[in-house]
C-alpha cells in the first residue's frame, strides 16, 4: 500500500509536468490548428531565464515574472515573423516551421546562456511531506497545483469569455470569424503570447524538480504532445487528464513491471486509446462534409 501511494505521487508529479506542457499546446492548436513544437522551448526559456535572473540577484518572483514576459514576447515574435508570413500554407508546413523555430531557439539559448544543467531552489523547501504512508516533495504540490490552476483558467477563458470564444471561432473558420468582426490577427498574437507565457510558467514551476538546461525542450514537447493526443488535442480538460494519466502509467509500470518498459507501456496505452477513439479521450467528434 505504501509503495502504491509512492508510485501514485510520483506519477502525479511527472504527470503534472506533462499536463502543463500539454495545456500550452491547446491554446495555439485552438487558435490555428497548428501543433506548436516549440512549446517545449517555451518551458526551457521560462526555466533558464528565471535561473539566470535569479543568479544575477533578482528575487525569485520578479525573476519568474521577467521570464514569463520575455518568453511571451518571443512567442509573439514567432507568430509575427514565422507563422503569419506563411498564412495560407498547409498546416503541415506550419508545424514544420514550429519545429524549425524550436531548433533556432535551442541553438540561440545554448550560445546566450550555457550548456550546463541548472536548478532553482524549491519554493517551499525540500522537506518531504509524509502523506498516507508515502512521501511527496512540496514542489510537487506546486507543480500539480499549477497544472490545475492553469486548467481552470483556460477552461473559464474558452467557455466564459467572449475573447476565448473568439479564439475557438477563429480556429473553426477564420473567414467566418472575420466576417462577424473578430480581429483574427489579434487572436493569433494573443494565443501565441498566452501559450508562451503558460509554457514559461510551467518552466518556473518544474525547474526545481526536473532541472533545466538548453536542451530539455525536445523531451518535454514529445511527452506533452503525447499527453495532449491522449486527452484530445485542443481540450484543456483532455490536456490535464492526458498528462496525469501518462505520468501514472509510467510510474506504475516502473513500480510494478520494470523501469525498462516504462515508456514503451505508456506509448502502447496511448496507441491503444487512439485506435479505439482517434480523437482522444475528450476530443470532439468531427465530421467532414464532402
Amino acid at each position: 500500500m505504501d509503495a502504491l501511494m509512492q508510485f501514485v505521487y510520483s506519477g502525479l508529479t511527472v504527470g503534472a509536468v506533462y499536463a502543463l506542457v500539454a495545456l500550452g499546446f491547446t491554446i495555439i492548436y485552438n487558435a490555428s490548428d497548428v501543433v506548436n513544437f516549440a512549446q517545449g522551448e517555451f518551458v526551457m526559456l521560462g526555466g533558464m531565464i528565471t535561473v539566470f535572473a535569479f543568479d544575477a540577484g533578482l528575487p525569485l518572483p520578479l525573476a519568474a515574472l521577467m521570464a514569463i514576459v520575455a518568453t511571451a514576447a518571443i512567442g509573439v515574435a514567432l507568430n509575427k515573423f514565422a507563422i503569419e508570413p506563411a498564412r495560407g500554407a498547409p498546416v503541415v508546413s506550419l508545424i514544420i516551421i514550429t519545429i524549425g523555430a524550436s531548433i533556432l531557439i535551442r541553438g540561440t539559448a545554448q550560445v546566450i546562456f550555457d550548456k550546463q544543467l541548472h536548478r532553482l531552489p524549491a519554493f517551499s523547501g525540500d522537506d518531504p511531506i509524509h502523506l498516507l504512508g508515502a512521501t511527496i516533495l512540496p514542489q510537487s504540490l506546486w507543480v500539480i497545483g499549477g497544472a490545475f490552476a492553469i486548467f481552470i483558467g483556460l477552461w473559464l477563458f474558452f467557455t466564459r469569455t467572449l475573447l476565448g470564444k473568439a479564439v475557438l471561432a477563429t480556429a473553426n473558420n477564420r473567414l467566418a470569424a472575420q466576417l462577424v468582426g473578430i480581429n483574427t490577427g489579434f487572436v493569433m498574437t494573443l494565443s501565441f503570447a498566452l501559450s508562451a507565457a503558460i509554457g514559461a510558467l510551467a518552466g518556473v514551476l518544474v525547474t526545481p524538480v526536473t532541472l533545466v538546461s538548453y536542451d530539455v525542450g525536445v523531451g518535454l514537447a514529445l511527452k506533452g504532445f503525447a499527453a495532449a493526443m491522449l486527452g484530445g488535442m485542443g481540450n484543456p480538460k483532455g490536456a490535464l487528464v492526458g498528462g496525469l494519466l501518462l505520468g501514472l502509467f509510467e510510474a506504475l509500470t516502473a513500480g510494478y513491471i520494470s523501469s525498462q518498459y516504462k515508456e514503451a507501456v505508456a506509448f502502447v496505452v496511448i496507441l491503444a486509446v487512439l485506435f479505439v477513439m482517434p480523437q482522444g479521450l475528450f476530443g470532439q467528434k468531427t465530421t467532414e462534409r464532402v
Binding site: 505521487y9 545554448q110 550548456k115 544543467l117 524538480v209 516502473a254
Partner: protein, 379 residues
C-alpha cells in the same frame, strides 16, 4: 567574457581557429555543442587555453603549435568526416578528441588506417582493449570505477546491492561492466533498475530497490540530470543505506543540483582535480592539479570539471611526446607516446607501455564522500 565565448563559438562553427604561421599542426574533434556539450565544451576551452600558453612560452623545441579544432556535435558520422579532413586536408601530425565513446570509435579507425597518433577523451574500455598501435586514452575506464567502488564496499562489509542506472551510453556501459566485475569482489546485485535521460522522478524505481530484501547499498551509474534527481529522491524516501555515484557526476555542480542536504554522505570515485584544495602538500598530483585548476578558473570564470582535465592530460601527453620525439613525424610521436613514463596529469600518473595504452591504475581514482556540501577523501 560572454562576448569572447560567443566569438569563440562562432569561430568553432566556422570550423577552425587558426594561429598564424604555425609549424606543427595538432588536430582535435570534440563535441563542443550538442548533447555531449558538457563534456566537449570544457575540453575545447582547455585546449585553447593550453595551446595559447604553450606558444606564448616558445612552443615545442622552438616550434609553434597550431590547433585545428572541429566541433562534431557528438555525431559519430561528423567525427569521422572531421578526422578524415584533419588528416587529408589539414595534414595534422596527431589528433586529440572524441569526447564520447561513439565519436572516438569513428576517429579511431581513421587514425589507425592513416597511422596518426590519437588520444581519446572517452571512457569505454573497448577503446584501448584490445590495444591498437596508434590509439591512447586519458580517462579511467568505467570498469575501473566499478572496481574502485566495489573495493570500498568490500572494506565496509557490503555484499548485497541494488543498482539504478541511466539508459544512456555511459550508464548502460558502466552497468554492464559493474555486473561483469561484481563477482570478483563478492558483490551480489539484487535489483537492477533504470531511468532515461530526462526523467523527472525516480521514486518508483527507488521504492522497488528499497523494498528488496537484503540490499545494503545502492549504486547509480549515469551522468547528467538523472543522478542529481536520484540523489534528491533518495533523500525524499529517507532510504538509510549508503548511496554510491559514478565518476560521471564528479563536479561541484552535482552537489548544487542535488542540494547540499540530499547529497550528504554520497560516495563516488573521483579524480584529484575535484579535491585540489584539500590534497596533501606532498601529493604527487598536487602541483599539476592546482596549476590547471587556477589557470582554467581565471581564464573562463567557471569551475573546472573532470572532463576538461582529460583534455589537459591528453594535451600534456601529446606535447611531451612531441618534444621527446624531436620531430613532427607521426610514427616517431607514436613511439615517444608509448614510451611515456610517470607523466603526472590531473587524472592520474600515466605510464604507457606496448600493452597498456591507458597507463593508469586504480590509485588514480580517489574515493570521495560529500560532507557538509564539500568533497572529502575517504581512502
Amino acid at each position: 567574457m560572454k562576448l569572447a565565448q560567443t566569438a569563440l563559438a562562432t569561430l568553432m562553427v566556422l570550423g577552425t581557429v587558426t594561429a598564424a604561421q604555425a609549424d606543427i599542426k595538432l588536430g582535435a574533434s570534440l563535441s563542443a555543442s550538442g548533447p555531449a556539450a558538457f563534456l566537449g565544451d570544457p575540453e575545447a576551452k582547455t585546449l585553447y587555453m593550453l595551446i595559447e600558453d604553450l606558444n606564448a612560452n616558445g612552443g615545442i623545441n622552438g616550434e609553434k603549435i597550431e590547433l585545428v579544432l572541429y566541433d562534431d556535435g557528438g555525431d559519430p558520422n561528423k567525427a569521422r568526416t572531421f578526422a578524415t579532413r584533419l588528416v587529408e586536408d589539414d595534414e595534422v601530425v596527431a589528433i586529440i578528441g572524441g569526447s564520447t565513446t561513439g565519436t572516438t570509435m569513428s576517429i579511431l579507425s581513421v587514425a589507425e588506417d592513416e597511422g596518426i597518433p590519437f588520444i581519446s577523451l572517452a571512457g569505454a574500455i573497448q577503446i584501448i582493449d584490445p590495444v591498437r598501435d596508434y590509439v591512447f586514452k586519458t580517462p579511467h575506464t568505467d570498469r575501473m570505477a566499478c572496481e574502485k567502488i566495489f573495493t570500498d564496499m568490500q572494506k565496509n562489509g557490503i555484499t548485497k546491492i541494488g543498482m539504478i542506472s541511466g539508459t544512456g551510453g555511459f550508464g548502460a556501459s558502466m552497468e554492464a561492466q559493474c555486473v561483469d566485475v561484481s563477482g570478483k569482489y563478492g558483490v551480489e546485485i539484487l535489483a537492477q533498475e533504470t531511468y532515461s535521460r530526462q526523467d523527472a522522478d525516480m521514486t518508483p524505481q527507488l521504492t522497488k530497490i528499497k523494498s528488496t530484501e537484503g540490499v545494503q547499498a545502492v549504486l547509480n551509474p549515469g551522468f547528467g540530470q538523472g543522478p542529481a534527481i536520484v540523489t534528491r529522491n533518495y533523500a525524499q524516501l529517507g532510504i538509510d543505506l549508503p548511496l554510491y555515484q559514478s565518476h560521471g557526476v564528479a563536479s561541484d555542480s552535482f552537489i548544487e543540483l542535488a542540494g547540499k542536504d540530499a547529497a550528504e554522505g554520497v560516495r563516488l570515485p573521483g579524480t584529484a582535480l575535484l579535491i585540489a584544495d584539500i590534497l596533501a602538500a606532498d601529493d604527487p598530483q598536487k602541483e599539476a592539479v592546482v596549476a590547471y585548476k587556477s589557470a582554467y578558473e581565471e581564464e573562463y570564470g567557471e569551475a573546472v570539471s573532470t572532463f576538461g582535465g582529460y583534455a589537459h592530460d591528453a594535451f600534456r601527453l601529446m606535447t611531451d611526446a612531441m618534444a621527446r620525439a624531436g620531430s613532427s613525424d607521426s610514427s616517431a610521436i607514436r613511439d615517444a607516446l608509448e614510451a611515456t613514463s610517470s607523466l603526472v596529469g590531473t587524472t592520474g600518473t600515466y605510464t604507457f607501455s606496448p600493452d597498456d595504452h591507458l597507463g593508469l591504475d586504480l590509485s588514480a581514482f580517489r574515493m570521495l564522500e560529500i560532507r557538509d556540501g564539500k568533497w572529502t577523501s575517504i581512502d
